[in-house]
Amino acid sequence: MSEVTTTLDLRRVEAEATSKTTLGFWTYLMTDCVLFAALFAVYAVQHGNTFGGPDGYELFKLPYVLVETLVLLISSFTCGLALLALQKRDKTMVLTWLAVTFVLGAVFLGMELSEFHAMAAEGNSWRRSGFLSSYFTLVGTHGLHITIGLIWMAVAGTLAWKKGLTASIHKRLTLLGMFWHFLDVVWIFIFTVVYLFGSLHL
């Protein structure tokens, strides 16, 4: 692009492209909100359909989930720090905080999977009841989003490391930050609706 002399104001073009991408990504997050809303609705309908199996009160270990939650919340905070470093164009700090976020995200995912594994090993898998089907699908969909976020983080981090904080990497990291915070918000709802209400015997 740079070798061609042009009357186009390339910085304005770039800024317009960024504003389109940001709006598009916000719209995508709204559609993802609808997706999670549908899954929450399904969970709300089915949380009592235990079909003789255990309910949330018997299955959920609140202290464990609280640690999981704190790990994710802290990862959201460190992701914020990475974005602040991005504003200051401090590549080392961006990469450091991204790495911390990645590790925390991976720990969260590992804890979630080990929780799933423990439940399934006790015979309480998604096949057991309508309640457990909706539980595994709702929480698992969030986990799938976290997985995608981790892949994205790894790729964007590697690109930032190799190429530096170019305009396109700046844009992608900003979107990644939005995505990660969004997953945090969804998790707050999962923690409240699934785990807290479940433990209250509601």
Partner: protein, 663 residues
């Protein structure tokens, strides 16, 4: 050997290939047809051209044309499904059995509905939006050209998957919305429902991406001076429709996924036992399905608005009320889904609320109808084929609206629920609302796409065949519904006395088929006479909106300089004032890329693997998609600059060539 087979082939075996004569014929036809096309492309050495100009393009006009070609082919396929159903119901009476077995008949009606909605109506809609919307907004492209190509290839992957079911395996026999518990593994153990799930899932993701893309296009890609209230009404109706896409398609994704989980992983969302709840599926699918109807019809309303203003040579009556009517419909369409299952037993209070909400939709729709009619009032009307389509639409659509209000009364709905009365009603809305609109739109924007007009006399015959055929095909169904005929019957008793009406309906279907034949003739004749039908000015119909200010066919750079807008019908105002917006500027355009078609192909593999439980294929396909997206992300220069000088050169060459052709 068996271990190898289950590991690498999942459920796939030789038994998957069709056994019945009818399906075997169709399968052989599809495979042969495909092979002939491939052989022709190879014979004429067209692969390189196809790859460079079409398969890797990010030009919305080309993508739009490809959408329309795919949709028209699917219209022929699902249309022949319709003829098969009419043949069965006209002949399968008493001691006579029709040409098709019950199982084949069930697959036929399931495929008809699914293909018509997802791969005909949606495809025509997205095709037209691609062709028209950016130009109407005075811009060259959509907000995200790469994602636009990706949407198209996902749509195509879904289309290929649904047609593969004819050759490998079977299609769903559970109706176009696959209600559980019938669609659950216990009652539909084959791969049919899985084909249904995955072709919709893949196409649905493409639609969702298109929805986001066009929303951002409308909000961000308008030319200088075009405020929201100066947008053409077509753009407004696309805005409403795409808002519905963004809010409703995620619900479809969820419903399909949960059904697949039930069938594949033994979950209990909608199963009859295990704590499942089948009515939850029906709620989810209609929370998407009702808005879907408006997704399809709103852009068609936009088309009618453009056509009425152009062919009445008058500005559209009640622009502001048109905009408000769009948003009224958008809002209300999310509040009525329960009217699809009043008989669920939600109780009188709930049914009343949804019944009244449903009737309310007649108000904004009525506003639009009156606005179109008032646009004609004291206009200088040209009675072209587009006007014939509109007249057919307005009479029939109002009749469908009236039966819709009848169905909105829960007490009446309990009587005619699941009957042919319902079938007649929703075909009236979708065929005259959506199909008439998009067929009129194709003929309206045809010169813009190809550079020459379609034969209008033949176009009128087509519109008349469709309108008359429609009355013959569907009005008897209203009566049959009252007489107690339920939908999806493959056989009935002779003493019921239904056969004459079914025969009339079959004649109607044949009349529509005649219309389709005339359409093909019209296309051939028009191509034959293309030089005398050529649109030299770019303004084929004395139009009002910006797309008519570009040459026909629109060059890839669209505008030599993006226009500036001060009026609502800017092009009309320019013509009245005698001003022409001229000049050249540097243009930023997207480079071609093969990533979208590759991702589409990989999605097809993922879908195929998921249907046949070939998990290796699913994993490889998903990994491939991730890799393709990473490759795309590494590309830092996805665009190139076309300099003003180059645009001027191309433009002059275009004019020279046009002169030569005309001489």
């Amino acid at each position: 050997m068996i271990g190898f087979a289950t590991e690498w082939l999942g459920r796939l075996s030789w038994h998957a290939f069709p056994q019945a004569t009818v399906t075997r014929g169709a399968a052989i036809g599809i495979v042969l047809g495909g092979l002939i096309v491939l052989a022709l492309i190879t014979y004429f050495h067209k692969w390189r051209w196809l790859w460079r100009e079409w398969l890797t393009t990010q030009d919305p006009k080309r993508i739009g044309i490809m959408y329309i070609i795919v949709s028209v082919l699917m219209l022929l396929r699902a249309g022949s499904d319709a003829l098969m159903m009419r043949a069965q119901q006209a002949t399968s009476v008493g001691t006579h059995t029709g040409p098709f077995s019950p199982d084949t008949f069930q697959q036929v009606f399931s495929a008809h509905g699914t293909i018509m909605i997802f791969f005909v109506a949606m495809g025509l809609m997205f095709g037209l939006i691609n062709l028209v919307l950016p130009q109407q907004l005075g811009n060259r492209d959509v907000a995200f050209p790469f994602m636009n190509a990706l949407s198209f290839w996902l749509f195509t992957a879904g289309m290929l998957l649904i047609n593969m079911s004819l050759v490998i395996g079977e299609f769903s026999a559970a109706g176009w919305l696959a209600y559980p518990p019938l669609s659950e593994l216990k009652f539909s153990p084959g791969v049919g429902v899985d084909y249904w799930i995955w072709s919709l899932q893949i196409a649905g993701v493409g639609s969702l991406m298109s929805g986001i893309n066009f929303l951002v296009t409308i909000l961000k890609n308008r030319c200088k001076g075009m405020t929201m209230m100066k947008m053409p009404v077509f753009a407004w109706s696309v805005f409403g429709s795409m808002t519905l896409v963004a809010f409703s398609f995620p619900i479809l994704t969820v419903a399909l996924t949960l059904l697949y989980f039930d069938r594949t992983f033994g979950m209990h969302f909608f199963t009859a036992g295990g704590g499942g709840n089948a009515m939850m599926y029906v709620n989810l699918i209609w929370a998407w399905g009702h808005p879907e109807v408006y997704i399809l019809v709103l852009p068609a309303f936009g088309v009618y608005s453009e056509i009425m203003a152009t062919f009445s040579r008058k500005r559209l009556f009640g622009y502001t009320s048109m905009v408000w009517a769009v948003w009224g419909i958008v809002f209300l369409s999310f509040t009525v889904w329960l009217h699809h299952f009043f008989t669920m037993g939600a109780g009188a209070d709930v049914n009343s609320v949804f019944g009244i909400a449903t009737m309310l939709i007649a108000i904004p729709t009525g506003v639009k109808i009156f606005n179109w009619l008032f646009t004609m009032y004291r206009g200088r009307i040209r009675f072209t084929s587009h006007m014939v389509w509109f007249m057919g639409f307005v009479f029939l659509f109002v009749s469908g609206g009236v039966t819709g209000v009848m169905l909105a009364v829960p007490a009446i709905d309990f009587q005619v629920h699941n009957s042919l009365f319902l079938v007649a009603h929703f075909h009236t809305m979708v065929v005259t609302g959506v199909v008439f609109g998009y067929l009129a739109a194709i003929s309206y924007w045809f010169p813009k796409i190809t550079g020459f007009r379609l034969h209008d006399g033949l176009g009128k015959i087509v519109a008349w065949c469709w309108s008359v055929g429609f009355v013959l095909a569907f009005f008897p169904l209203y009566a049959l519904g009252f007489m107690g005929a339920t939908r999806r019957l493959d056989h009935y008793d002779a003493s019921l006395g239904w056969q004459p009406l079914f025969i009339v309906a079959a004649i109607g279907a044949l009349t529509i088929a005649t219309g389709v034949v005339f359409q093909i003739v019209q296309l051939i004749v028009s191509i034959w006479q293309r030089n005398e039908r050529r649109d030299i000015t770019g303004d084929a119909w004395d139009g009002r909106t910006l797309e008519w200010s570009t040459p026909s066919p629109t060059p890839f750079y669209v505008f030599t300089k993006t226009p500036v807008v001060t009026e609502r019908d800017q092009f009309w105002a320019d013509k009245q004032a005698g001003t022409v917006q001229r000049g050249y500027e540097d243009i930023l355009l997207p480079k071609n890329t093969g990533v979208p078609i590759v991702v589409g192909g990989l999605a097809l593999l993922v879908g195929f693997g998921a249907i046949w439980h070939i998990w290796t294929l699913v994993v490889l396909g998903l990994l491939g998609i991730v890799m393709a997206i990473i490759v795309r992300a590494m590309n830092d220069e996805p665009e190139y600059i076309l300099t003003a000088k180059e645009v001027e050169r191309l433009e002059n060459a275009r004019k020279r060539k046009l002169k030569e052709v005309m001489a």
